[in-house]
């Protein structure tokens, strides 16, 4: 093994020592990596401002405490970098760790350690530098789409409740039905369930049932045998086979035909299916998660969904509220999307102005979280500074909000507007059906829709 050349002792330390002490201090305090020094008893002797931000402890709280009680990294219990150093092992450089911030937030980071020596080259402690890898982690998640419950943002009681039982739902092997309006994050929940389940090493196969015509949906899902139809030149495995030992996510299940539902029910009950044109049944083992933007129970009553399939799919049910019903989550979501786009686009936007926050808090978000994400993404194109302001929003959005007019509705009126909005979603925006469901005339419905800015 090649030995490293001895370090030139007159290099960096001496260059730093030639600077006035307050310059050295300014240098250490201005770097974005966290710096923590400790003595031989592993007691903290210094904590830089960046390290304060990453750990949540102030320097005053940290100095004199054990380093592991401040850094709170997983590596401390498994392979202490300082112990390695003292045992003469190779110092850990850019070792991946996970830190628990004082607030309970988990932070991915990397750590490097170097010995601190006195004039006689005797070790008197160590200096640890750690780098926040949240942005890198965000990029990795976006690339691999391996989202977990940590990626679900929400403080609203309904969201907190969903998050609290998500691990239990994931651990069970039961079918899950996710109901929620378009853009409310149904696929994110489905992916989180998959990641939290024992099937996480298996595939996550997502199919949007509304995006494919019925015949294509059948062949996509079940696969086909060579010669099953014109153009079937070879055997093709379907999504059911691909999802073996993993999770099958069927989005917009409400748009499927009764015939397809019967076939799906058979697979769910027997774990067997026959590809189109095939003669031999194939076995598959997957967990099914379905999602719909309509209330499936009502569709059962209307005869659009088989009752037996409904009970098969609805073992565990998660109802996602629309964004307008969880407004307290808007600032958190804005912060989340800014972090995401900063990582994806290499930008460093700090936040939004109070003016735009008030605008967003009053906006009804018919497109839910996806629309909020799009608003922030658009603002990243137009905003060249550090804060997103009203001038960075699209003209279309501002015109739409202006058309709806300033809303000063009473709680009863807001309730009524919500009821109409939900009924419209439930009946695929059909006004005659919505009016019938709400027991009002079509003219009254139209008048109320105009009043609440629901006319599109």
């Amino acid at each position: 093994m090649n030995k490293k050349p001895p370090k030139d002792k007159s290099s960096l330390p001496c260059r730093l020592l030639s600077l006035p002490p307050d310059h050295c201090c300014t240098i250490v305090e201005s770097i974005s990596e966290g710096v923590m020094t400790m003595d031989l008893e592993k007691k903290v002797t210094y904590l830089s401002p960046a390290a304060e931000a990453m750990t949540g402890f102030t320097a005053q709280e940290a100095v004199g405490q054990q380093c592991f009680d401040i850094l709170r990294a997983d590596v401390c219990a498994q392979r202490c970098p300082f112990d390695d150093l003292r045992l003469g092992r190779e110092p850990q450089i850019d070792e991946r760790i996970s830190i628990i911030h004082k607030s309970g937030k988990q932070l991915p980071a990397s750590i490097s350690i170097s010995p601190l020596k006195d004039e006689d080259c005797e070790m008197i402690g160590a200096v640890e530098t750690f780098k926040d890898l949240s942005e890198l982690e965000e990029l990795r998640k976006q690339a691999s789409r391996s989202f977990t419950d940590e990626d679900i943002v929400g403080r609203h009681p309904a969201m907190k409740e969903i998050l609290s039982f998500l691990p239990d739902i994931a651990q069970s092997e039961s079918s899950v039905l996710i109901e929620g309006p378009t853009g409310s994050g149904k696929e994110l929940i489905a992916r989180a369930i998959h990641q939290l389940s024992s099937r996480k090493t298996g595939p996550f196969v997502a199919v949007n049932c509304a995006a494919l015509p019925e015949t294509l949906l059948e062949s996509e899902l079940f696969g086909y045998a060579k010669g099953a139809f014109t153009g079937a030149m070879r055997n093709k495995a379907g999504r059911l086979s691909m999802a073996n030992r993993g999770t099958l996510f069927l989005d917009e299940i409400s748009s499927t035909s009764m015939a397809f539902q019967a076939d799906l029910l058979r697979v769910l009950e027997d774990g067997e299916f026959t590809p189109l044109g095939g003669t031999r049944p194939l076995k598959t083992d997957f967990r099914v998660i379905t999602a719909t933007n309509l209330k499936l129970k009502i569709l059962v009553k209307e005869g659009r969904i088989r009752e037996d399939l409904y009970y098969r799919l609805n073992v565990a049910r998660i109802c996602l509220p629309p964004l307008r019903k969880r407004r307290e989550d808007i600032p958190l979501l804005v912060e989340h999307f800014i972090r995401k786009f900063n990582a994806l686009k290499g930008r460093s936007i700090q936040g939004i102005t109070p003016e735009i926050l008030s605008f967003l808090l009053a906006y009804p978000f018919p497109g839910n979280i996806r629309q909020l994400e799009n608003i922030i993404e658009y603002a990243f194109i137009t905003c060249k500074g550090r804060f997103i302001g009203m001038e960075h929003l699209s003209r279309e959005l501002l015109d739409e909000a202006k058309e709806a007019g300033p809303r000063d509705d009473s709680p009863e009126e807001m309730e009524e507007a919500d009821k109409i909005r939900t009924a419209l979603e439930q009946h695929s925006e059909s006004r005659p059906k919505t009016a019938r469901a709400l027991s009002m005339s079509r003219t009254t419905l139209w008048r109320k829709m105009k009043k609440y800015g629901l006319l599109q």
Partner: protein, 120 residues
């Protein structure tokens, strides 16, 4: 079962409270009643995943967890299961335990101080 008796679990880092929930598979399990510790046991969980550890502790009937850092989502989940989570603790495990048990007994008795904590 005595209502004032509770089962406490503490993740260990040597003889100290582990600073990172999920990083250690060793737990000290104690049954405490008022200021007395009735029973103690060293527990080694098979699971290394934080969520699985939390689940296993709940299944064992643990009613309180004393720990250093714990991820907010695990803390929320545990609290939802009715487990009391006393986090951000640091130091030698018995010192932390005695202080917390002593404090909660004082609170139970309306601030009146009791005798020494007994270990069995």
């Amino acid at each position: 079962m005595n209502a004032s008796r509770k089962m406490i679990a503490i993740p260990l880092f040597g003889d100290r409270v582990s600073p990172h929930f999920g990083a250690s598979s060793r737990f000290l399990l104690v049954a405490a009643e008022k200021q007395a510790i009735l029973y103690e046991k060293l527990l080694r969980l098979k699971e290394s995943d934080s969520m699985k550890q939390a689940r296993q502790l709940v299944n064992l009937g643990v009613e309180e967890i004393i720990c250093g850092g714990i991820q907010a989502r695990f803390k929320d989940w545990l609290m939802r299961q009715g487990v009391v989570v006393v986090d951000n603790q640091k130091g030698k495990v018995w010192e932390v335990l005695e202080e917390l048990i002593g404090r909660s007994a004082q609170e139970d008795q309306g601030g009146q101080k009791h005798g020494e904590t007994k270990k069995t």
